[in-house]
Symmetry: C2
Amino acid sequence: MLEIDKQSPLPIYYQIEAYLKQQIDDGLLKPGDTLPSEREFSEQFHVSRMTIRQAIMNLVNAGYLSRQKGRGTFVASQKIAMTLSGLTSFSEEIKHRGMRPLSRLLSYEVIPATDRIAQQLSIPNQTPVYEMKRLRLADDHPLALETAYIPVHLLPDLTQDDATGSIYAYAEQHGLRLKNATQTLEARSAGPEEAKLLTISPNAPVLLIDQRTYLEDGGMFEYSRSLFRGDSYSFTVAMDRI
Amino acid sequence: MLEIDKQSPLPIYYQIEAYLKQQIDDGLLKPGDTLPSEREFSEQFHVSRMTIRQAIMNLVNAGYLSRQKGRGTFVASQKIAMTLSGLTSFSEEIKHRGMRPLSRLLSYEVIPATDRIAQQLSIPNQTPVYEMKRLRLADDHPLALETAYIPVHLLPDLTQDDATGSIYAYAEQHGLRLKNATQTLEARSAGPEEAKLLTISPNAPVLLIDQRTYLEDGGMFEYSRSLFRGDSYSFTVAMDRI
DNA sequence: CTCTATAATCTGTTCAGACAACTAGTTTAA
DNA sequence: TTAAACTAGTTGTCTGAACAGATTATAGAG
């Protein structure tokens, strides 16, 4: 039974939201199950119906619940929720698939932005940017080849050591607030050098993923281009409102 | 200037939402612009602040706006909104890219579901399903090869003619409410027959997209597998909360 | 026993107001 | 001059209430 702490700095709706999400993740609430009505929740937790509503609506948007006017609130099928709440960090994703992630830094330098990179990052030509090439491995098997570009002025003190770990974590520790990203996927054939690094034969199919990462204030943080081995990586995405 | 119709069957928040979306799409509100505060809107439209909030929050979730506590509400960069509101129909997407979509029905039959298809559709083995193969063209150039499976009991009266047009539209006209879909993408090499139909050389890279479409009640509507030409198709997706 | 009207229950929408937390600019004190 | 305190403005959270619209169960009429 959930105890709500109205004194907590965490909002009440957030506490209820986390509680329900836990119940679903733990399997105590199964897909198709009917949830108590808003009024019942409201009395049970001694909070306003609008507060309950906010918790429920967030879970509906995240794909955990579904509701129908006049009928009630139901637990949604699980797969959608998994893919809708976008976990993006390479390390997290590999761990989630039950493998051990590893990165090898192939190169690290500061270069003036070329036309294409400047355009992708929405910055003037020749602006200094970090260029970092990394080989991504899962259980010691090469999985992807990534080239990332970040404007130097956003992270002026970044060192080669920092680049070995998670850049996202480093950025957030230095006051940058990342908000969202867009990815563009395409099928390509691997070139000779790429094939060698990924230990596949030349012209084998690879998934080319261009990623643009945005900051809270709307500015761009990073542009990266990755090549994933076609035989060992697939990408899943959920879409609403067809 | 927007006139709100409080007698309209359309909710007030929805009218405000549509009005703001229009302003953004028309370029009257540009990325980075600051919106009036909630209180100002509230007085301007003579509605409660909570109603304004609901309109704004929906647009924030759709990627059109962003907000910061203590600062205000701002128009977000456009690309994200475009990809976040998931337009999925092949025809719509091709039109959106300024091309002319066309479908050629290659085969249409009712078969008992094989293991793989039954599993993908969450139905018992051997259940009758429609199998429809279509070649998708954009401006008369072959773009994709699609094989779709739909349980017969969901659309018992489907004819070959119906299958030539939009199945989604047909399903909705017959009382089925589609809710969402998941897509899994992978890079592959084209086989000999596939290559011939797509007019590419054998072993050329193709994008394999598996799609599962769900109904409002949580049941599955369709499983389809498409092969897109790697040289002429890319797929974009937006992700929140990194 | 069947069909229809009614009632109860549910989510959806809207309101007016209150206080908290954060931001940015201004004023005051050292 | 500089730093701290204050203030006005903004979004975030929460309350309690009311009515609308959809769905389901129930009671009553035929």
